[in-house]
Amino acid sequence: MTCADNRLLHSALLDGELAPDERAQVEAHLATCAECTAELAALARTLSMIHALPAARAPHGFVDRVLEAARPLPWHRRLGRRLFQPLRVKLPLEAAAIMLVALGAVYVFQNTPELQQAARQEPPVSAPVPVSPPATPAPPAVPAVRGTPAPSPSAPAEAHRTAEEDQAGKKKEREAALSDAPAKAEAPPSRPVTSPAPRLEARPEAKLQSKVDARKTPVAPEGRSDAREAPPAATNLMKDKAPSQSPAAPPAPPAAAAPPADVAPEAREKSGARPQSEVSRPLDRVGPSESSGDLSARARQVPARLFVAPDASGRLSVADRAAADRALADLGARLGVTQAFRRDEPDGAIIEWIVPREVYAEFVRGLAGIGRWTADREPASPPARVRLQVRVGS
C-alpha cells in the first residue's frame, strides 16, 4: 500500500468505517510510515476541532411557529388562497375575465333586439284583484269608467282638458307639477285605506312612463320623485280621459280601470288639482328640441293606458316604410281601429293600436298583407279592446 492509498482511507479509519481487512492494511502501513502517522494525527486534530463546535440551536419559539404553520387553514382562507394567490398572476386574469364577460353581455344585449324590447317593456300587469279590497269587486271596465260621474267641481274641467291647450297653460302646469312633488311625497300617509288599490295598479305604468321619457331626454333630478308620484295621476287620467275621447277611442282596459267606482271620486279628491299637472308631466319631460306642436300631437296620441304592457305585440317587416304607413292608416280607418301611440325610432316605429275584438283577426291579417308579420305575443282570449303593439321596421 502506498502512502497516497493509505491517506485516502484515514478519514474512514478515524470514523471506524473501514472493513476489518482494510483497517489491517492501513494500520500495517502506519506502523512503518512516520509521515502517514503524522498526517493521520493532524487529521484527527482537525476533526476534534470540528467536533468541538457548539451545536446550533433553533431560535426561541420555533416549535410554536411550526405548529402554527402546520395547523390547517380555515376553509375560507384556503379558498381565498386558491382563488387569489399568487395575486400578481390571478388578479389580472380574473379582472380580464370579468371585463370579457361584461363586454360579452353588452354585445349580446346590443345585438338582440328582443332583449332590448323586453327591457323596454314592462312585464304584464298583474291582476289587481288581490290588491283591491274583496268587498268591492272591480266592476266591468267600460261602464265603470264611463258611468263614473265627476264628483268634484274641478273634475269636469280636468276631464275635458286636452293637450291642445296653449303652451302658457302647460308651463304653468309644469311648474305646478314640479312644486307639487315634495308635497306629494308626504301625501300618502293621509290617504284613505281604499286608495292604495289604484296606486299599486298604476305604479308599473309610471315606471314604464319614466323609461319612455328617459329615452327621449335626460330626466331632470326631480324627475325621480315625479315618476314615483305618477301612478295616481295615470289612474286618474284613465278615468278622466275616457269620456272625452272620440267614440272610436278605446276605454281604459279592465286591468287599469279596475278601481271601484266609490274609490274614484275619493282618489280624485285627494289628488286635488294634481291630475291636470300630472297629465302633462310625461309631456314635460319630452326633450326641449320638440316643438309645442309636437307636444300637442303627442299628447293626443298618448293615452295613459299606453304605459301598461300591450295585450298583443309583434313585428312588421316592410320594404317601404312610407308605403307601409299609408297602408296601415288605411287599414285602421277601414276597420275602425284607433292608433293609440306611435314612436318613431331610427330603425323603425312602434305603433300601438286599440283593436276591437271583432276585427282583431282581420286587422292582423291586414298587417300580414302589408309586410312580413311576426307575432311576439298573442292574447289567449282577446279582451273587448285589444291593445296591439306593432314594431314596424325594414
Binding site: T46, M49, A55, R57, V66, A69
Partner: protein, 186 residues
C-alpha cells in the same frame, strides 16, 4: 449522533401516523435543533435556516402518511432538510457568500461560555469560514457527519449517494479543512 440521541421510538411514529397533534409537537421539539443546525451550517443565515427548518417539518407533516419507516425518522428529516438546502443554494436563493459566512459566528450556541477566550473565538470563526467555503456537495457531507454525527450509510441514504462517494467527498472536505485550519492545530 451528536448531542441528545433519543431512541426513535416506533411509538412516536405510530402516533404521528395516527395524526396525533401532540406527536407532531414532540417530533418538532426533539429534532428542531438538529434540523436547524444543518440548515444554518449550510446556508449561513439564521433567518434562512429557520425558514428551511420550518419547511422541513411542514413537509414531513404532510408526507408522514408516505413515510414507510425504512429509515430512521431523524435520517428522513435530515434528508428533507439537506435537499431543501441544496435546492435553495442551487437556485441562488440563499447562496452563501463569504460575507454572510461571518454570520455563522453569531449562531446561537449551546452552552456558550461567556468567558471563552479570544483564541477560541478566532478558531471557531476560522472553522465556520472554512466550512462555509467548502463546495456545497462536500459541505453537506461534513455537516452531516462531523457536526450532526450521521453514519456513512445514513448520509448515503439521506443524500441518495453511493457509500464510496460519501467516503471520498468526506475525505476531501476534511483535507481542505485541515489545510485551512493548520495554524490553529495544536
Amino acid at each position: 449522533m451528536r448531542g441528545e440521541s433519543p431512541s426513535e421510538p416506533k411509538e412516536l411514529l405510530d402516533r404521528l401516523r395516527a395524526g396525533e397533534a401532540r406527536a407532531f409537537e414532540e417530533l418538532v421539539t426533539t429534532y428542531q435543533h438538529r434540523v436547524f443546525g444543518v440548515a444554518a451550517r449550510m446556508l449561513g443565515s439564521s433567518a434562512e435556516a429557520e425558514e428551511v427548518a420550518q419547511e422541513t417539518f411542514l413537509r414531513a407533516h404532510r408526507a408522514l402518511a408516505d413515510f414507510r419507516g425504512e429509515a430512521k425518522l431523524s435520517t428522513w428529516l435530515y434528508a428533507i432538510a439537506s435537499r431543501l438546502c441544496l435546492n435553495r443554494l442551487a437556485s441562488g436563493e440563499g447562496r452563501m457568500s463569504r460575507a454572510r459566512a461571518e454570520g455563522l459566528d453569531r449562531l446561537p450556541a449551546a452552552g456558550g461560555e461567556p468567558g471563552a477566550d479570544l483564541e477560541r473565538s478566532e478558531r471557531e470563526a476560522a472553522l465556520h469560514r472554512a466550512i462555509a467555503e467548502l463546495p456545497e456537495d462536500r459541505r453537506i457531507v461534513v455537516v452531516l457527519r462531523d457536526i450532526e454525527g450521521l453514519t456513512y450509510d445514513e448520509i448515503a441514504a439521506a443524500l441518495s449517494l453511493e457509500l464510496n462517494t460519501v467516503r471520498s467527498r468526506l475525505h476531501r472536505a476534511r483535507l481542505d479543512l485541515k489545510e485551512k485550519l493548520e495554524r490553529f492545530l495544536p
